[in-house]
Amino acid sequence: MGDILSTSVSGLLAFQQALSVTSNNISNSSTPGYSVENIELAEQPGVGTGGGFFGNGVDVQSITRSYDEMLASQVRSSQSSYSSFSTLSTQAAQIDNMLSSSSTGLTATLQSFVNSLQSLSTQPASTAQRQVVISQAQALTTELQSYQSQLETQGSDLESQIGTTVGEVNTIATNIASLNGQIAAASGSGQTPNQLMDQRDALVDQLSQYVSVNAITQSNGEMDIYIGSGQPLVTDGSTQTLTATPDPNDASESDIGIAAGNGSVTNITSEINGGTLGGMLTTRSQVLDPTVNALGQIAVGLATVMNQQQAAGMDMTGAQGKPMFAVGGPQVLPSIANTGTSTVDATITNLSGLTTDNYKLTYSGTAWELQDTTSGQSVPMTGTGTSTDPFVAAGMSIVVNGTPDTNDNYVIKPTAGAVDGMSVLLTSPSQIAAASLGTASAATANTGSGTISTPTITDPTTWTSGTYTISFTDATDYQVTDSGGNVVASGAYTSGSSISFNSEQVSISGTPASGDTFTVGANTNANSGDNTNVLAMAADLNSKVLDGGTASLNDAANNLVSGMGVLTQQAQANATAQQSVNQTATNTRSNLSGVSLDDEAAKMLQYQQAYQACAQMIQASQTIFNSLISAITSG
C-alpha cells in the first residue's frame, strides 16, 4: 500500500509539474526568444524483492529547453547580413533618390549650361545671353552644393548613429556579462537556468542586429562574444568596451575601436562587418565618400576646363578672360598623432589623372609613400616633393616641406572639398571671354584668294601679344616672322591645315599668291562678334577630359547616377535575399524551439489524464488501506 501511495504521489507530483511546464510553455507561446521547455521524467530506482524488482514511481530529472546552438548561430549570422544590407540599401536609396531626377538632375543642368554657351555663340555680344550663361553657371553651382549638403547631412547623421549603435553594443555586452555571472552561479546547482539562458540568447540575437558576432559557450555555462575578426567583446565575465572615436586625420569621421582593460584602444574599423554598424561603415566608405568625391571631380573638371578656356579668350572689356569658377582645392588632413614638423600641400595639375579615391601619404622613415585608401593599393609617385620638383601622382602635385618623423601621415582627398569651395567668380556678363585673344587679317594688297581663320591660343600662359606676319614666299611655301623680322616658323602650305607659332594656331584656306601676307596679332576689338572662344568652351564641355580621356563631364555625371542605381539595386537585392535566408533560419530554429499550441494542447490532455489516473490510484490505495484497517479493527 505504501508503495502504491508513494508511487502514485510521485506520479501526481510529476504530472503536476509537467502541467506547470506545459502551462508555462503556453503562457510564453508568443514571447520572443522563448525556447520550449520539456520536462525530463525518469523512473525512480527500483527495489529488489524475491518476487522481482518493483518500480518506485517517477522522478522529475530536469527541465530542459529545446535549443540548438548551430541553428541559433545561423539565425544570428543571417540577421547580421540582412541588417547590414538593409542599412546599406536604405542609405544608398536616399542618395539614389536625390540623384535620380532626369528632368532636373545633374546631367540636365550641365546640358542647360552647355546650351547657354551655344546660344551665346550665335550672338556673342548679347548682354542678355551672357547673363543667361552666368545664371546657368550659378544654377549648376547651386545644384552641386545642394547635393553636397544633403550628403554631408546624411554623413553626420550616420556618424551619430554609429555613436549610438556603439553605445547599444556596449550596453548589451554589459548585460550579457552580468547574465554570464548569474548563469554560472545558478549552474552550480546542477540544473540549467533556462530562463536566464533564453534571456542571454535574446540579447545575443539583438547584438547580431548591430554587428556580426561569434558566440562561444564555455563549459561553465558562460558565453564569450567575439566581434570583427576575433576581437573579444565579452570574455571570462569581463567586458571590453567598443569605442567610436574621431579618426586621427579626419575628426568628422569615427573610427571603431576596442578598449582593453588598461585603457589602450585598438582600431578595428576595418574588421567590423555585418549588422547595422557594418552597413553604416560600408555606406560611409563605399557610398558617401565616393559620391562626394565624384561630385567634386565633376566640379573640378568644370572649373578647370572653363577657366582655361576663359584665359584663352578676350572678354567684352578688352581684357584677357578671368577664371569663371572657383572650386575648393585638395583637402590635406594631418594626423593628430604626427610628431614631425612637416607640412604638405597638394594642388590638382592633371585633370585627366584625377580619381574619385582618397589617399594617405605616410613617411616610412626613409621615404614618403602614397597609398590609395579606397582600393588599398600603393600609388607610385614621381618627383622629390620640393616645390620645383613636386611629387606627381593621381592628377596632383604634392609639395612637402619641413622634417617628418617616422609614421607621420596625411590623408589627402583630392576632390572632396571641391564643391564646398565652389562659386561663380564672374559678376558681370561682359566678363565672359567669347572672343579669341588673337586676331588675323589678310593684307588688302593680296592678289591670291587665301583667307585666314581666327587664331586659337593653345597656351595662354606662354602666348605673347606681339604682331606676326605670315608671308608666302611662293604659292606653296610660307614663312612666319615676328615684329623684329625673326623667322619663327615656316613650311609648305596646304589649304586648311594649321600653322603654329607663339602658342597659337591659325589656318589659311584657298589659294594665296606668291607675295601675299597675313597679319596675326592681339585682338583689340572688345565689342567683337568673334565667337570662337565660346564655341571652344561648348566643345570642351563635351570632350573627354576626365579619367584618362575616357569620360566627358556629362559621362561622369551619368555614371554617378547609374552607378548609384546599380549599387542601390544590388544592395536591395542582397537585402531581400538575406531576409529570405534569415526567415528560413528563423523558421528552422522556431520549429525546434518555438511553442506549438497544438503540441501543448495534446501534452496537456496527456498529463491531465495521467494526473487524474494517479489521483484515482491514490483513492484506490486509500480504499485498500481502509479495507485493511476495517479488517483489522473488526476482528
Partner: protein
C-alpha cells in the same frame, strides 16, 4: 516535421508584406506613368534615358542656333539680290553712256545717276540684321563696315565670319565678310585686264579678250612675262612686247581683228594711230564699289578720246559684270548653307522623334501590362489574406471540452 505556431504566423505575415510591397510598387508605376522612379529601378535604363534626354536637349539647341543663322543668311541673300539689281542698272546706264554721240554734259548726268547707285551699293554693304548688327562686317559688326572717303569706299570689317554650330558635327559660316562679297572681285576676265594707253590719239578700242590657252599664259607669267604692251608703229602694224621688253609676236591688224600671243587673245575695234599702245596686264582684285567709281570718273573726264572712252567703259562694264558674278557666287554659297540648315533641321526633327520614342519605351509604364500585373497581385494578396484568416482559427484547444 514540427512547425511552431510562430513559424506559421511569421511566414504568412511576411508573405503578405511582400505582396503588399509589390502591389504598392505597381500602383506607383500606374499613377506616375513611369517605370523608372529612381535609377535603382533600372540602372541601365535610367542611364540610357538620361543620355537620350541630353541628346534631345542638345539637338533642340542646335535647331535654335540654326534658326538664327537661317534668318541672317536670308537677309544676306536679299541684300545680294538688291546689290545685283543696282549693278544691272549701272550696266544699262553704262551702255547708254557708251554712245559717241553723247555730249560731256550728258555723260556727266549719267555719272550723277551712277553716283546714286554707288551710294545705294554702299548702304547695302552696311545692311543690318534685326539686332542692329552689320551683316557684312564679319566679327566687327557693331560699326558700319564700309566707309566712303572721296570716291573710294573702303572695308573696315574683319576677315573672319561667325561660325554657327547647326548640329553636333556641322558648323557653317553665319554670313560672309564684306571683303568676300564686295571687295576681292577678280578684275578683267579673271586672268588679264586690258587698257588703252593714256596718250593714244587713234580711235581704236580694245575688248575684254579671252584666254585661249590658260597653261601657256600661266607658264609665260611664271617665267616673268608680266604685262604685255601692244604697240602700233602705224595703223596696221603692231608689235607685242612683254614687261621685259622682249618681242613676243608682231603682225598686221585689220579693224575688228584679234591679236593672239602666249595663250591670250584680244580683239580691237576701230583704227589706231601710229604710236598708240594697249596694255594686257595680269588680273588682280578690285571692289564692286571701285567698278562704279571708276566708271563715274571715266564719264566725268573731259580729256578722253572715243577710243579710250570706249575701252574704259567696256572695262568698267566687265568689272560690274564680274561683281554681279561674284554676288551670284556668294549667293549660291549662302543658298547651299540655307539648304544645309534645312537638311540639318530635318534630321534633327527625326532624330528627336526617335529619341523621344525610345525614352518613352524605356521609361513609360506599359499600362496594359501593369494593370494586368496589378490584378494578379491583388488576387494573390486576397488569397493570402483569406487563407491566413481561415487557417489561423484551427487549434486543438477549440476541441477540448470542460
Amino acid at each position: 516535421m514540427r512547425i511552431s505556431t510562430a513559424t506559421f504566423q511569421n511566414d504568412a505575415v511576411s508573405q503578405m508584406d511582400a505582396l503588399e510591397a509589390a502591389l504598392q510598387q505597381t500602383q506607383t508605376e500606374l499613377s506616375t506613368g513611369s517605370q523608372i522612379q529612381n535609377a535603382a529601378d533600372n540602372p541601365i535604363g535610367a542611364a540610357q534615358v538620361n543620355q537620350m534626354n541630353v541628346e534631345v536637349s542638345a539637338t533642340t539647341q542646335y535647331v535654335t542656333n540654326s534658326n538664327l543663322a537661317n534668318t541672317n543668311l536670308g537677309l544676306e541673300e536679299q541684300a545680294l539680290s538688291n546689290a545685283t539689281s543696282i549693278m544691272q542698272n549701272a550696266i544699262s546706264l553704262a551702255t547708254e553712256a557708251n554712245n559717241s554721240a553723247l555730249s560731256p554734259a550728258n555723260r556727266a548726268d549719267i555719272a550723277t545717276q551712277l553716283q546714286q547707285d554707288l551710294q545705294s551699293l554702299t548702304s547695302i554693304g552696311n545692311s543690318t540684321d534685326s539686332a542692329g548688327n552689320y551683316l557684312f562686317g564679319g566679327y566687327s559688326n557693331t560699326s558700319p563696315p564700309f566707309t566712303q572717303s572721296g570716291g573710294t569706299v573702303s572695308y573696315n570689317g574683319s576677315d573672319q565670319v561667325i561660325q554657327v554650330q547647326i548640329s553636333s558635327n556641322q558648323s557653317i559660316s553665319g554670313g560672309d565678310t564684306g571683303a568676300t562679297a564686295f571687295m576681292n572681285i577678280p578684275t578683267g576676265n579673271g586672268t588679264f585686264t586690258v587698257s588703252a594707253g593714256s596718250t593714244n590719239t587713234g580711235a581704236a578700242s580694245i575688248g575684254g579678250g579671252t584666254v585661249t590657252n590658260p597653261t601657256t599664259y600661266a607658264a609665260a607669267e611664271a617665267a616673268g612675262a608680266g604685262a604685255y604692251t601692244i604697240s602700233f608703229s602705224d595703223p596696221t602694224d603692231y608689235q607685242v612686247t612683254d614687261s621685259n621688253g622682249n618681242v613676243v609676236t608682231s603682225g598686221t591688224y585689220t579693224d575688228g581683228g584679234s591679236i593672239s600671243f602666249n595663250g591670250a587673245q584680244v580683239t580691237l575695234n576701230g583704227t589706231p594711230a601710229a604710236g598708240d599702245s594697249f596694255t594686257v596686264a595680269p588680273a588682280g582684285t578690285s571692289s564692286a564699289f571701285s567698278a562704279l567709281s571708276n566708271l563715274i570718273t571715266t564719264l566725268n573726264s573731259t580729256n578722253l578720246n572715243n577710243g579710250q572712252l570706249t575701252t574704259q567703259i567696256n572695262a568698267a562694264v566687265q568689272q560690274i559684270q564680274n561683281s554681279i558674278t561674284n554676288f551670284s557666287n556668294v549667293s549660291a554659297s549662302v543658298g547651299a548653307r540655307i539648304n544645309a540648315i534645312t537638311a540639318a533641321q530635318s534630321t534633327a526633327t527625326s532624330v528627336t522623334t526617335t529619341l523621344k520614342t525610345n525614352i518613352s519605351t524605356l521609361q513609360s509604364t506599359d499600362y496594359t501590362q501593369a494593370t494586368t500585373q496589378l490584378s494578379s497581385e491583388e488576387l494573390a494578396l486576397q488569397a493570402a489574406q483569406e487563407s491566413y484568416a481561415s487557417l489561423e482559427k484551427l487549434s486543438l484547444f477549440n476541441y477540448i471540452q470542460g
